[in-house]
Symmetry: C2
Subunit: 206 residues, 2 copies
Amino acid sequence: MKMAELAQRSGLSVATIKFYIREGLVPSGERTNVNQAAYSESHVTRLRLIRALTQVARLSLEQVREVLSETDEFPTLRDAMGYAQDLVIGEVTTEPEYSPTAVATLEAAVKERKREIERDGKSYASAVRAIEALELEGVGEILAAIPEYAKAADEVARIDLSAMATIVELDALDDTIRSVVVGLALRDPLMRALTLLAQHHHQALM
Amino acid sequence: MKMAELAQRSGLSVATIKFYIREGLVPSGERTNVNQAAYSESHVTRLRLIRALTQVARLSLEQVREVLSETDEFPTLRDAMGYAQDLVIGEVTTEPEYSPTAVATLEAAVKERKREIERDGKSYASAVRAIEALELEGVGEILAAIPEYAKAADEVARIDLSAMATIVELDALDDTIRSVVVGLALRDPLMRALTLLAQHHHQALM
């Protein structure tokens, strides 16, 4: 197919596609004459995936490049999960120190789940920062529901790990690692969207 | 306090704080002499909240300005929830058309929950886009778990709406609307972080 059709089918502008080709994220088309190249279905697939990772999973181009590269940068499944978790969390400030009440709220909710907590990671920092902000803004109703949210989060993580365990059983390690990273990066916006769809339903009952 | 202490206590650089003051997101300090101004606790609180909304909830400065403005742009609670949902979803492409299998997967999961679905909104588009990307990448294990994720999402939405109902009962409408918008914008990163914390726990059992 020609560039115009590739743009239409991938939902990206010609300028964006040319940029991705220059950046090496997508292979060049097969040159048919001096001004024209032909593109295949595999170009459409690749561009749609890049679009999803940037627009839906909100990854940077640099992150997309890393995720799609065929390198074995993540030698173990555990490393791959850690990498995916960092991708999903994004940047988070660990300075200055945490609000003691926010920490206490988080610790109490986790303790109720009877589980260990990893305090050094970005997930912990991100949870504390969100709780601090809810405290600052005085949204006590959400704060009061944190134990319930923690219970629901536990269930989502259980589904995640059960899916990951199936990937590990079925795939070779290279495919496993890529599936884990892409799968967790996309599960985040999926769960967000499903929750908002469910909000519409519950809203109708208010 | 002086600017240096304000920077230290808010976790933001002096340059960033000066930028927010110029942009009108934070009031100026009280001038104490020609080169110096004094800042209060309310400056610390305001800056920390802006930091959380930009870094934790990943809102743009323009969105932060809208959320923090005291205007009554959202005349009803339903409008405020719609606005918060759009903030949380961000940009999503509704062109070109959806993959029929992705739509079928979403519809089947929602039908199982026995609820109505709002097909015109950004949440629907975002869910379909995430499912399409999982299809493209061939992460069938996450796709197979979508009915389970939809069930968990239903529970999160139930907790959200129950918290929102309490806000509505307790606050004046202006406060209600702001609490709903800020609360839902911050609940999203909170739930994400709680889920990743729970993943660590389940990972340890793998």
